[in-house]
């Protein structure tokens, strides 16, 4: 019975991780691609970790709680890296399917009126 549960969890995890990676290939611009690997994988990694915790808690000696820490660290670091990637992409003005944000154009106009901005010549 436990084995069926574990295999279900591991398969679910694998499917979601795969869909997240598939997003990299199927989506069209940088910003939408960012959603696939950083997001659909949270559920994937989550179910893999639950499977791991269940397995080692029932097989090994005592309860295994390392997985709680993996989840915690993942939930702290993954959004930060996604945020920084998006910020860098905005700074480099990568082409986007979505209309460019309002403030970005204001910034650029302000920069232009003052002369060439620091990121203009780069």
């Amino acid at each position: 019975m436990l084995e069926y549960l574990l295999s279900f969890l591991i398969l679910t995890g694998a499917v979601f991780t795969f869909i997240g990676s598939l997003g990299l290939a199927r989506l069209k611009d940088f910003y939408t691609r960012l959603h696939g690997p950083t997001k659909a994988t949270t559920l994937g990694v989550g179910s893999l970790l639950i499977a791991s915790a269940l397995l080692f808690s029932t097989r090994g000696d005592g309860v295994s709680l390392h997985e709680v820490l993996v989840t915690l660290f993942l939930f702290i670091t993954a959004p930060v890296s996604a945020h920084l990637l998006a910020k860098a992409a905005l700074h480099l003005e990568l082409p986007s399917l979505a209309p460019a944000p309002q403030e970005e154009t204001h910034d650029r106009q302000a920069g232009n009126s003052r002369g060439p901005g620091p990121h203009k010549g780069a």
């Binding site: 989550g46 996604a82 986007s96």
Partner: protein
């Protein structure tokens, strides 16, 4: 007291993380964890000058539950969008006006927005008045802003900034 124990909340949290890392409850590890929990906040005081206060622990717990539920639901919808026709997606940048003031609350909100699939927080305005969010599929920008403000910002404001 304030100088010796700058972050009273951080000490038990760090001790708990130390115990989880070692997966043990022996007295030696508890002592070592408490020592680290005292020493690390004291050592990194310059990075965390303001003291963190949690006013409504129950609201915080409910907020965490809401976020976990949203992560699961939204993961399913993002997976469906990726498998569906990418041409039907309508990505958009949405600017969310912020009511939060403290740094911790703003960074928690940005983290939450990034964790719930379908949205990435892209940039915080220099004056911290609004947060730029990129959404994978935004049929209605106003609804997205309203749901972020109501589901995430309101509880965070209550927990960290209510007076």
């Amino acid at each position: 007291m304030r100088r010796l124990l700058p972050h009273p909340l951080l000490t038990p949290i760090l001790a708990l993380i130390w115990l989880l890392l070692n997966n043990s409850l022996s007295p030696g590890h508890i002592l070592l964890g408490l020592l680290l929990g005292w020493f690390i906040p004291w050592f990194t005081l310059r990075f965390w000058p303001e003291r963190v206060r949690i006013r409504r622990p129950l609201t915080l717990l409910r907020f965490i539950a809401v976020v976990l539920y949203d992560i699961v639901v939204a993961n399913l919808s993002v997976a469906r969008r990726i498998l569906g026709r990418p041409a039907a997606l309508r990505p958009a940048f949405v600017s969310v006006p912020l009511e939060l003031k403290t740094e911790l609350a703003i960074s928690l909100l940005a983290n939450t927005i990034c964790l719930t699939p379908g949205t990435v927080s892209a940039r915080l305005a220099p004056d911290r008045r609004c947060l730029l969010v990129h959404g994978l599929h935004v049929p209605d920008a106003g609804a997205l802003v309203a749901s972020i403000k109501q589901r995430y910002e309101a509880p965070l404001k209550e927990v960290f900034e209510s007076c």
